[in-house]
Symmetry: C2
């Protein structure tokens, strides 16, 4: 792991010097071509692209309803039980996010309010291949369920041996309504534009590779999307009271995701940092995914040594990590120091994987510094708001002069007229 | 106005046959070039681009603080009073949108919660030229104020005669912290990347021309943006009890915005539709912005005659209008029929301009059918959520087997290890 230490300014300068890669233009053109193809050619394009990219010739994308109905038959009972427990925790947490509308009748003759309604159709992208995560199926679908979305469409790349049975079981437990075997940018195109067999959705959520991410970005505005996901990261802020074995294990749980994953320790103690780095090396040796984790640690692993915990939190807020672990004495005291982070894990036993699978908060989180402005996936992502007003004639009359004055200052005479005409007599056609 | 009538299916087919224009690729390249230029060259690019596009040579973008402080001196007292009244209404409405976080300690040893925090820096784009709307300044800034955003940056194109005094006054009343005279895609680039003189923001909101809209789309992910705004539209659902003069005036208040604006009447009564169309023609003749309104009505004005009010609402929901007026007997009975609309105006006296300026709900609304999934601008747009968890050792021990099982099913051994290691003795280095 790379050590960086010094005062806060020096550390921030060092962190900012890492350049962002943005050589994506070739992939971007490929993605645009796929989107246009599916928009124009519909299912014909989908069949052709699936054969080209997935090497699989399908005659129907839709997973038959009876397969979804019987999904639990194909997996172990213990797995179902664990997933059901996770589901209960996710539901009880997200239930608290539910928002209702309001009506305000404080002013006489005036009613103002807000409706909160679920989206009508949600599209969930679930990656296939080695990155098949049943937990993600739950995390993406359950908030939509709580929002009340009546139709949830799941898409996932086709596999040579059919659909991954754990993904299928998770879809059943979460409550997906329909599943289509389509992956990549073509799946995003199908959901955004609709085809003969795939319904057009209102919003697309879920992680995916670079093709999926760029396609989601392109269709934003035609449909809504959750966020632009980049590589995953964890920052652990720890003092010398923390356990280096725990911290190292947590850093590695992030590193094993992806060679581009970033695992960062920020600590006030250099010896503690060294102990964690040693533990990381030691634990790496027994990991099945050692190659991936080692590459991640070698390229992006950092131990940042600061002069104070205050500096540590300032630097953490600059990084705005997806996951933040606070392993210091009295961790709750530092929750108010957190400005920018997706999800916070407090204390020695709130290990990141607990949140990934089980505790209940969503594991779909803003990455790559976007926690500055994006939020964890939640119930609000599957709702839309509508405002409404009603005024009596008397109420409008009270305000009419102010409205007319503002409209006229903006040069919008027809706006002013629309108010004034309501207080004029109808002079009939003879005066026109 | 164009008349469309028949059964629901026939009307929907007719509406869908209108092709979308998407020949934007040239503008898109120009916008990308501007963004790259500002990202690399900072202020130097901003000065050059401002001279090129606005024909104005500036030595400083920042509007001096004393100008902002004295902004109210330059406008009429009546204008200030009207704007202050509008501000009070906007604040009292948006106050009700405020969300707080939560903490849940229902399970022993487990704490789960959510923080809701304001963004740190918000960027507000305010168009210049003929489309200088003080009301938009209020509508964009005040929700950010209520969210608690500590730093609100406003940008607006420079004018030959300096800044529009009404815009400046509105900025003062709304509480902008800093104003920079920059417009177009270069302003969006400055806010997204930051330059020597313009601070980088977390989110960019506000309407703009096609350059601004495309630039916002491009920087989405680097910062957050509010929405992709298209031309404005109103749908009026009316029965024969409505007043054709009122309805016509409201349609025209939409049409005068823009030649691309869409004013649509959906009614169950053909004679009523005809009466509205006649009134539109009559009122058009005395409008100062007759040219714009006439072009909008000629190209996009529609009277849709349906067989029932139910059909009228189904068709309205397919259009998903920015503004919806319901001018029927007992309008409140139909609020529950509204699935997709930005803002709803109920009854004969809730004229759209009342909402544009005064009533309190936001006038920044989803356009072009995006009310299917986007919402009016609101306090939530200026907040981010962060989840947090804390578990005791005993609480984690209760759940550990389920977590380990799920991690192993996903092939993520380091995730499983991070949980297990917390219940193992430290065997020291000798056993590694």
């Amino acid at each position: 792991m790379r050590f960086i230490s010094g005062n806060k300014k020096a550390i921030l300068r060092e962190l900012h010097s890492v350049a962002n890669s943005d050589a994506q233009s070739e992939t971007e053109s490929a993605v645009k071509a796929i989107l246009a193809d599916v928009k124009v050619n519909g299912d014909v394009a989908l069949f052709r692209l699936t054969e080209e990219f997935d090497g699989i010739r399908l005659t129907d994308f839709r997973v038959p309803q009876h397969k979804l109905d019987c999904a639990l038959d194909g997996v172990e009972v213990e797995f179902i039980e664990a997933l059901e427990q996770a589901k209960a925790n996710i539901l009880s947490y997200h239930q608290k996010q539910k928002q209702s509308g309001f009506v305000d009748t404080e002013k006489q003759g005036v009613m103002r309010g807000q409706l909160v309604r679920p989206l009508e159709v949600a599209g969930i992208y679930v990656p296939g291949g080695t990155a098949a995560y049943p937990s993600s199926v739950l995390m993406n679908i359950l908030p939509a369920k709580i929002a009340g979305v009546p139709r949830i469409i799941m898409v996932t790349p086709p596999g040579k041996d059919g659909l991954n049975p754990y993904i299928l079981a998770a879809a059943k437990i979460a409550g997906a309504d329909e599943i289509y075997q389509i992956g990549g940018a073509q799946a995003i195109a199908a959901l955004a534009f609709g085809t003969e067999s795939v319904p057009k959705v209102d919003k697309i959520v879920g992680p995916g590779n670079i093709f999926v991410a760029l396609a989601k970005r392109e269709v934003f505005g035609i449909v809504d999307i959750d966020m632009i996901a980049g590589p995953s990261e964890v920052v652990v802020v720890a003092d010398e009271t923390a356990n280096p074995r725990f911290v190292a294990a947590d850093l590695l749980s992030q590193a094993e995701h992806d060679k581009l994953a970033r695992a960062i320790l920020i600590t006030t103690s250099e010896p503690f940092g060294q102990a964690v780095a040693d533990e990381v090396e030691k634990q790496l040796q027994s990991l099945p995914r050692e190659d991936i984790a080692r590459a991640s640690i070698a390229n992006f692993g950092q131990v940042i040594v600061t002069e104070s915990l205050e500096d540590a939190f300032d630097i953490m807020n600059e990084i705005a990590p997806e996951h933040l672990e606070i392993q210091v004495e009295n961790p709750m005291d530092y929750l108010s120091h957190v400005k920018n982070a997706g999800s916070v894990f407090l204390g020695a036993y709130a290990s990141e994987p607990l949140g990934d699978y089980f505790a209940g908060p969503n594991h779909v989180l803003p990455t790559s510094g976007t926690a500055r402005f994006f939020s964890p996936l939640g119930v609000a992502d599957f709702c839309k708001r509508t405002s409404f007003i009603s005024y009596t004639k008397a109420a409008l009359e009270r305000e009419k002069d102010a409205i007319v004055m503002l409209a006229e200052k903006e040069g919008l005479t027809a706006h002013a007229r629309a108010i004034q005409i309501r207080f004029e007599e109808d002079k009939g056609n003879e005066n026109s």
